[in-house]
């Protein structure tokens, strides 16, 4: 869609192995996520918020990020992304159950409130949008230090209505900061369709108010997302400033395990979008290109399911934190 014409898009240069890695990352996100829904239906966990449908966007983006070098402010749907960036299914399952070992917060936060320092995944909260005003600060620090780190920050389209969005993009553009604003536009903020959230046709139109590059891309197409993000990455890495990338996708499941999406949208709409499923799409392409076949697919599924099963068992059997751990760590030690 909006991304610049070029002779050969970066995705065309991806090796078969890389393509399979991407496919694996998407399937891994999906299956783990599905298992979380199952655990919720079984009454084994109290809450789940899902990234199903967003896998192409997240994996396409993740594969442009230099893991452990670039900074990432994820959001709660970024299951496939954080997995692609070094978190493990066990880590996420431990978080789902609120177990002690859960790396994101040791059970302090609700599930899907990711944090993983080795991959520079920055701790997130629930109030939406706050990270959009923080990420440019991280990018500013990179610039001050003279590092070529790029900061990527994720959020939904509804969240662009928050003041934090405006203020964050304003800073980024004034100082041409190396930051990418990745909006995962699934067309709903819980029940609210995009037309009650904003008056523009595309979220990327919002970039114009900041004299910032803005692109829209089919977020159900992992390679298109990859290309758009690669371009934004190059811009950021070379000091040419921030980009607002809008990946247009859909959430075929309810907002969270607490939601009933039948109250606000038709089954027809949901079914129509399910036909555009990002994993099915990519699978077809890989079959066509001869990168994937039934055997390879079964192998990947088996590998993923083994991981998912392992993570589930591990998390179920893992200990809870002790009650008193609630008391720490509020403050670090003061020197002297």
């Amino acid at each position: 869609m909006g991304s610049k014409e070029s002779v050969l898009p970066p995705a065309a240069e991806l090796t078969d192995d890389k393509l399979l890695e991407m496919y694996y990352a998407m399937v891994r996100g999906r299956r783990l996520d599905e298992r979380m829904w199952v655990l919720h239906r079984q009454g084994k966990v109290a809450f789940h918020i899902s990234g199903i449908g967003h896998e192409a966007t997240q994996v396409g983006a993740a594969f442009t990020i230099r893991q452990g070098h670039d900074w990432v402010y994820p959001y709660y749907r970024d299951i496939a992304m954080v997995l692609a960036l070094g978190m493990t299914p066990r880590m996420l399952m431990l978080g789902l159950f609120g177990k002690k070992e859960a790396v994101s917060s040791g059970g302090r936060q609700m599930p899907e409130h990711f944090s993983y320092r080795p991959s520079k995944l920055v701790t997130i909260s629930s109030p939406v949008g706050t990270q959009i005003a923080q990420a440019p600060g991280t990018a500013f620090a990179s610039k001050i230090k003279g590092s070529d780190e790029v900061t990527v920050v994720c959020f939904g389209e509804g969240t662009t209505s928050q003041g934090d969005f405006h203020e964050g993009l304003n800073w980024a553009s004034i100082h041409k900061l190396p930051v990418i604003f990745l909006c995962q536009n699934n067309q709903y903020a819980i029940s609210e369709p995009i037309n009650v959230e904003m008056a523009v046709g595309h979220v990327s139109d919002r970039a114009k108010g900041y004299n910032m590059a803005g692109v829209s891309v089919d977020g159900n197409d992992v390679l298109a997302t990859y290309d758009a993000m690669r371009e934004a990455m190059a811009r950021a890495r070379h000091g040419e400033g921030p980009t607002l990338v809008e990946a247009i996708t859909y959430r075929p499941v309810p907002h969270s395990s607490d939601d009933d999406d039948r109250t606000y949208r038709s089954r027809e709409e949901v079914e129509a979008w399910k036909k555009k499923d990002p994993i099915l799409n990519f699978e077809k392409l890989l079959y066509k290109r001869g990168v994937l076949d039934d055997a390879k697919k079964a192998e990947i599924e088996a590998k993923v399911m083994a991981e998912v099963n392992d993570a589930t068992d591990y998390a179920i059997n893992a200990p809870y934190p002790a009650a008193e751990e609630a008391l720490y760590p509020v403050y670090g030690p003061l020197p002297g």
Partner: protein, 327 residues
């Protein structure tokens, strides 16, 4: 008389009030077709349409800002904040703006509005879906802060809030939305702002609480009553202004005080209550003023053992009562 849950009482009261008064409009996130994430506005959109039941963009600052602008122009808005944890982006609009419209214009303008916010923990909500925010707002002159703990009071206080000529923060504890049921008269009545309620009479001490803690305290009082300890319990209902008279009168009788809240101890509402009693009820006191509250950590952790650790409950309150009784 109909028996309702708290959320039903709130839903029905808003419905009746909106039918009565065409100036009442409601806005907030997902309050339209979705009927609100807690179903407080179920059916409203269908009955009143999009000009009175307005799905807001995802932006709390302007939910309040828009409400203020509407109030200035003759409407009486109800602004729903989906979770009290998300009220902070609107802090400036509430504390610096809504609460001061009357004062700063020397009475030429007023800002009647009701801000509804589900608050409180014990529901697996973790750090950001469990917060008690009352102390921040009870410190703001120009605001009313109410927190009903029964369906009866929910109706009566909400009706009072919608008749107040100034902004009201109406705090609804999520955990008791459906847990607590009670009789709600069909007729119109008001529970006056600023009046606490003695919900249990007793001799040995005065226990002051509100919201979920009121119910845990009642259970605790029941437990210790079998041990011969008689606890008088005050349901504050109104957190700003506080009903000093009722509090001080009770302390005069019992000479001992236990204040219970779920919010963090330091700077919580118990501080003000304690300080009032230490100043104006001092001569009647037989024992140190006790506060029992959530620990000073950032809200309620998610993991069940840590959540349980955070939340005061009947058993823990009973221990506090025993301890104070033994003083």
């Amino acid at each position: 008389m109909a028996v309702k849950t708290i959320i039903e009482a709130i839903h029905d009261t808003m419905l009746e009030e909106m039918r009565r008064d065409p100036t009442i409009v409601i806005t907030g996130e997902d309050i339209g077709k979705r009927g609100g994430v807690f179903r407080a506005t179920q059916g409203f959109y269908e009955e009143f349409g999009p000009m009175r039941v307005i799905d807001s963009p995802l932006s709390e600052l302007s939910i309040i800002g828009i409400g203020i602008g509407m109030a200035i122009n003759g409407l009486h808005p109800i602004c729903e904040i989906q979770f009290a944890d998300f009220i902070f982006p609107a802090f400036n609009q509430i504390a610096n703006e809504a609460a001061r419209i009357r004062y700063r214009s020397n009475g030429a303008y007023t800002c009647p509005m009701v801000i509804r916010a589900p608050y409180g923990g014990g529901i697996g909500g973790g750090l950001y879906h469990s917060q008690s925010v009352e102390a921040f707002f009870a410190h703001v002159p120009g605001l009313y802060v109410l927190a009903p703990s029964t369906p009866y009071d929910a109706k009566g206080l909400l009706r009072a809030a919608l008749r107040a000529p100034d902004p009201v923060l109406f705090l609804e504890h999520k955990k008791i939305y459906r847990l607590v049921k009670g009789e709600v008269p069909a007729e119109d009545y008001i529970v006056p702002i600023g009046k606490a309620n003695i919900v249990r009479e007793g001799e040995d001490m005065t226990l002051i609480a509100y919201g979920l803690m009121l119910h845990e305290s009642l259970k605790a009082a029941e437990i210790v009553s079998r041990e011969g300890i008689s606890v008088e319990i005050i349901d504050l209902r109104s957190l700003r202004p506080l009903d000093k008279e009722t509090i001080l009168h009770s302390v005069e009788k019992t000479s001992k005080v236990l204040i219970v809240h779920e919010d963090n101890l330091t700077g919580g509402l118990g501080a003000e209550i304690g300080a009032i009693i230490a100043a104006e009820g001092f001569e009647n006191l037989d024992a140190p003023i006790r506060r029992y509250a959530g620990p000073d950590i950032p809200a309620v952790p998610f993991s069940p053992p840590m959540q349980d650790f955070f939340m005061p409950n009947a058993a823990k309150i009973a221990d506090q009562i025993r301890d104070l009784a033994a003083y």
